[in-house]
């Protein structure tokens, strides 16, 4: 059991430095800024309560796992039918189409970037989520696996296939010639 002072110190050491990453990831998986903020608060609250039992190793991975569980619970509360298939919940969450507020809606420059955006939008949602978490938000493979609740190999496979599709589509659109954007 830790006292309040130790709990606060652990919170400041392990959780506070990760707030921005948590918010970025939350925005990516909820695709809604308000939901993202709520999810980060929920994650911080759960992490604060559990920080006394945390061994201090890999705080980001620990926090992303907490966030994943928090998000699953939030979705279950809203959509009780997902209780029947809990393992697939995060995948379904990531696959929900909730409008165009997310990072993938960022307006890109014309030309190469416009074609890239078009290609990105045409990806299946599970590919889009992995590309967003790794290539846009800058998460590592393992961190992405932690938040999605899938093996690292699955993250790699989806990511590599997604990029290959982007590349193929860019090539078909004529947006690049021999490895260089036009």
């Amino acid at each position: 059991m830790v006292d309040d002072r130790e709990q606060k110190a652990a919170f400041d050491r392990y959780i506070v430095p990760e707030i921005e990453v948590l918010y970025r990831v939350a925005r990516s998986i909820t695709r809604n800024p308000t939901d993202a903020e709520d999810l980060v608060q929920d994650t911080m609250l759960r992490a604060y309560r559990a920080v006394g039992r945390f061994d201090g190793r890999y705080p980001r991975a620990w926090l992303l796992t907490i966030m994943r569980n928090a998000q699953i619970n939030r979705v279950r509360r809203r959509r009780p039918e997902l209780m029947r298939d809990p393992d697939a919940t995060m995948e379904r969450v990531a696959a929900q189409d909730s409008g165009d507020d997310g990072p993938e809606a960022t307006v890109l420059e014309r030309g190469y970037n416009a074609e890239l955006e078009k290609a990105f939008e045409s990806l299946p949602q599970k590919f889009k989520t992995v590309v967003d978490l790794v290539d846009v938000q800058g998460l590592a493979y393992q961190e992405t696996a932690d938040i999605l609740g899938v093996p690292v190999g699955t993250v790699m496979s989806r990511l590599h296939r997604a990029r290959a599709r982007l590349r193929k589509q860019l090539e078909a659109s004529g947006a690049y010639v021999e490895g260089r954007p036009t």
Binding site: P33, E37, P103, T106, F120, D135, V136, G138, L170
Partner: protein
């Protein structure tokens, strides 16, 4: 972390096929250091693989450039929330 397949470890150089299999992991810094050095040497020498690498690098970099700025107000609210939590 990707390591080189054991039956190829005795070969001093990597070939295009081997590079193609691990290129994206290499670009994500997810290949063991010794193996990465061999891939880098191959990419310097081989035009086809070098262009393949440049293509994927461009895609990765362009996607990274789309990362949206974090809303300062949201960050401020979250930090305040954290401070209130720890202050009891």
């Amino acid at each position: 972390m990707i390591t080189r397949r054991w039956f190829r470890r005795h070969k001093p150089e990597v070939d295009c096929r081997e590079v193609g299999r691990v290129l994206q992991s290499y670009l994500d810094d997810n290949v063991e250091a010794g193996f990465a050095g061999k891939i880098a040497a191959h990419l310097d020498e081989c035009k086809k693989c070098g262009l393949e690498s440049a293509t994927y690098t461009q895609i990765k970099d362009s996607l990274g450039d789309t990362r949206p700025d974090v809303d300062d107000d949201a960050m401020s609210r979250l930090r305040s929330f954290g401070a209130k939590l720890t202050d009891g």
